[in-house]
């Protein structure tokens, strides 16, 4: 009788344990939610420093606005403050997973709004080590995943998730260390067509902003070329009431105050 009870307790304990470990798909969904979809909307000043292997630096300073829509849809508005020759250039992206995003580019010198045809996975964002997909998030359905192991990274317990793209992509395999507490990716390794490590993403500083755990410093390093991109998010704000109106052609031509300061 006592053995039976012990067995029942063990069984109960085991099922509790199993229930606490989410599936790889669930982990990925929560990670995407935490990293790319936090809040109903977001505004941030983003400074991207591109560093070559020899130490030469280029800086891209921009204001990024984001608004979530239904399903996985999102709209992004990015206004460039520097460098000087792209000051005033603005980007508008309407992201709809399952199809290529709609993208517009505003060229101030010509007062021209251009529609850009591009494939997200392969396009480098302003010459950095990040692609557009790295910035705005990859559709969940685009990869198959499995949980490789649980591991502690820098003192934080993580799930290590392996993702393999189902179709064409900028990588053949990705390993992601997902923080078990915040579900933010703390480190990602990208493997290329030669099955070699090509890029490494690290979340260098995670801070709580408006109660939302946010990666405020991040780096993407191209292991093969030695080039890396350091990104700092300043003045991050969530749920500030950005409307659909902000993500239109009018904003490209006239950066909407108060969200964008044209300094």
């Amino acid at each position: 009788m006592k053995n039976g009870l012990t067995f029942l307790w063990l069984l109960l304990f085991a099922t509790q344990l199993l229930a606490q470990t989410p599936s790889p798909g669930e982990i990925a969904a929560k990670s995407q939610q935490a990293f790319s979809y936090a809040g109903r909307d977001m505004a941030a000043r983003v400074v991207m420093t591109l560093v070559t292997a020899s130490g030469e630096q280029r800086v891209r300073d921009m204001t990024m606005l984001r608004r979530n829509g239904v399903a996985e849809r999102q709209k992004y508005f990015i206004y460039f403050h520097s460098p000087a020759d792209v000051r005033g250039t603005a980007f508008l992206v309407w992201k709809d997973p399952g199809r290529d995003a709609d993208r517009w580019l505003f060229i101030p010198a010509l007062n021209l709004v251009q529609r850009i045809a591009a494939r997200d996975a392969e396009s480098s964002f302003v010459g950095s080590d990040f692609s557009y997909e790295d910035i705005s998030g990859r559709p969940l359905a685009a990869d198959t995943r499995r949980l490789v192991r649980d591991e502690t990274l820098n003192g934080k317990p993580c799930h290590v998730i392996e993702s393999i793209p189902t179709g064409r992509a900028g990588f053949t395999r990705k390993l992601a260390w997902i923080d078990r507490a915040t579900f933010l990716p703390l480190k990602e390794e990208y493997y290329d067509a030669q099955k070699e490590l090509s890029r490494v993403f690290t979340a260098d500083e995670v801070r709580e902003v408006d109660g939302v755990p946010t990666v405020v410093r991040r780096t993407m390093k191209n292991v093969k070329s030695g080039h890396r991109t350091d990104v700092v998010f300043r003045d991050v704000r969530y749920n500030i009431g950005l409307t659909e109106e902000v993500f239109t052609e009018r904003s490209l031509r006239r950066p909407p105050p108060p969200w964008i300061s044209v300094e």
């Binding site: 000087a84 529609r115 850009i116 045809a117 494939r119 396009s123 105050p257 044209v262």
Partner: protein, 396 residues
């Protein structure tokens, strides 16, 4: 304070001299100048008003003249769904790549063919431009008051070999008189429906390129450049599809001063049409193609009244355009090619270009303008103007 300093040189391949009507001697340089542009801007905190001015100071080494220019200078006012811009401004409409149907605003073709940066193809227009945006339909109305007419800048005879209908006559220009009835107005209505960006356009004004006519047909003393009246009605559409972006545009040019097409000095009415497709071909490699045509109306009347010795234009002037752009080395090196070819007239134009960003502040561009085709055609007549150009810009 922001702006740039730029040097810009263009020369013929063997430094062959220009027609050089100015008698200055240019050593084969089509363009040689240094330019400073300042961008002065201010905006109120809430965005209710804004000011922008782009004054320029330049030194033309070929004509040895220095000068100033106000490229843009305007006041912006905003209230609710309205934006109004008053002053000299650049307005760009339409979906063509270096072909213009409903973009009825001033152009500088001399700048483009001389190897200036692409932004100089467009000139500022002195106008009041009012924009209204709503969720479904938006409207833009641009009014150019009489007396502020801006003509296109064409390649000058002094620096460009070209067909000259009146070789012996000095030139003069007669812009539309400053009468209220000569006010220009351009309207654009646009919106998005089922994922397609749609627009309709209307313009009432003048042919901006102008035509030349002798002041007196019997005993001409001068060739006068004048600007006949024009109305344009058109539409454009743009949407993504087949992994790229499709664009289409049409326009009807109503030559109001030559309704029957029998005035040899005035362009006939014409239809213009365009279809284009743009696509990313590989990582950091974009390509686009377009097919553009101008269909002259009353072509028989045109042929009948064409003065002797003038080359005859075809009824349909068509162009295939191609653009390839490749970015390398973290987008610091840009290789691009733009080309036109006319299947009907067999003339062509090519503009290959290499651009390198030395740093965030310094960019150098090296390229060429190559004209080809039978001498009677648009690009063919410019055949002796092939040039290579260099421009270096330091931005601050």
């Amino acid at each position: 304070m922001h702006g740039f300093v730029q040097v810009n040189y263009a020369a013929r391949p063997d430094f062959a001299p220009s027609p050089d009507r100015d008698g200055l001697g240019d050593d084969g340089f089509v363009l040689g100048e240094e330019r400073l542009q300042l961008k002065l801007a201010a905006r109120s905190a809430g965005g209710a008003w804004g000011l922008l001015a782009k004054p320029e100071l330049f030194h033309d080494a070929v004509s040895e003249q220095a000068g100033t220019n106000l490229r843009e200078g305007y006041l912006d006012l905003a209230h609710d769904a309205w934006d109004v811009r008053i002053g000299r401004q650049i307005i760009t409409w339409g979906v063509g790549d270096l072909v213009f149907i409903n973009d009825v605003f001033p152009k500088d073709y001399a700048a483009f063919f001389s190897g200036r940066p692409l932004e100089y193809l467009k000139r500022g227009v002195d106008a009041l431009d009012a924009n209204y945006q709503s969720e479904t339909l938006s409207a833009e109305l641009a009014i150019v008051p009489a007396g502020f007419f801006g003509s296109d800048n064409l390649p000058p005879r002094g620096r460009f070999f070209q067909f000259d209908p009146f070789p012996a006559l000095p030139r003069a220009t007669a812009e539309p008189a400053a009468r209220f009835s000569n006010t220009e107005a351009a309207l654009r209505l646009h919106g998005t429906m089922a994922g397609t960006e749609l627009a309709v356009y209307a313009y009432r004004g003048f042919w901006r390129a102008g035509t030349f006519a002798p002041d007196d047909s019997a005993a001409p003393t001068r060739a006068i450049r004048f600007f006949p009246r024009l109305a344009v009605f058109g539409a454009s559409a743009r949407r993504s599809g087949l992994g790229g972006v499709w664009s289409a545009e049409i326009g009807y040019y109503d030559s109001r001063d030559d309704p029957r097409g029998d005035d040899p000095a005035v362009e006939n009415s014409q239809f213009r049409f365009l279809i284009a497709y743009q696509r990313q071909l590989a990582a950091d490699f974009t390509g686009s193609i377009e097919y553009y045509g101008e269909w002259m109306q009353d072509h028989a009347a045109y042929r009948r009244t064409l003065p002797p010795g003038f080359p005859a234009s075809r009824e349909v002037r068509d162009l295939l355009g191609l653009r390839l752009t490749r970015l390398l080395r973290y987008q610091t090196l840009k290789l691009s090619l733009f080309a036109f070819y006319s299947p009907g007239a067999r003339d062509c134009f090519a503009n290959p270009e290499v651009s390198y960003q030395f740093s965030d502040r310094l960019t150098a561009t090296f390229g060429g303008n190559i004209f080809g085709g039978p001498a009677q055609t648009f690009f063919g007549q410019l055949g002796r103007n092939d040039n290579a150009y260099l421009s270096v810009r330091s931005s601050f």
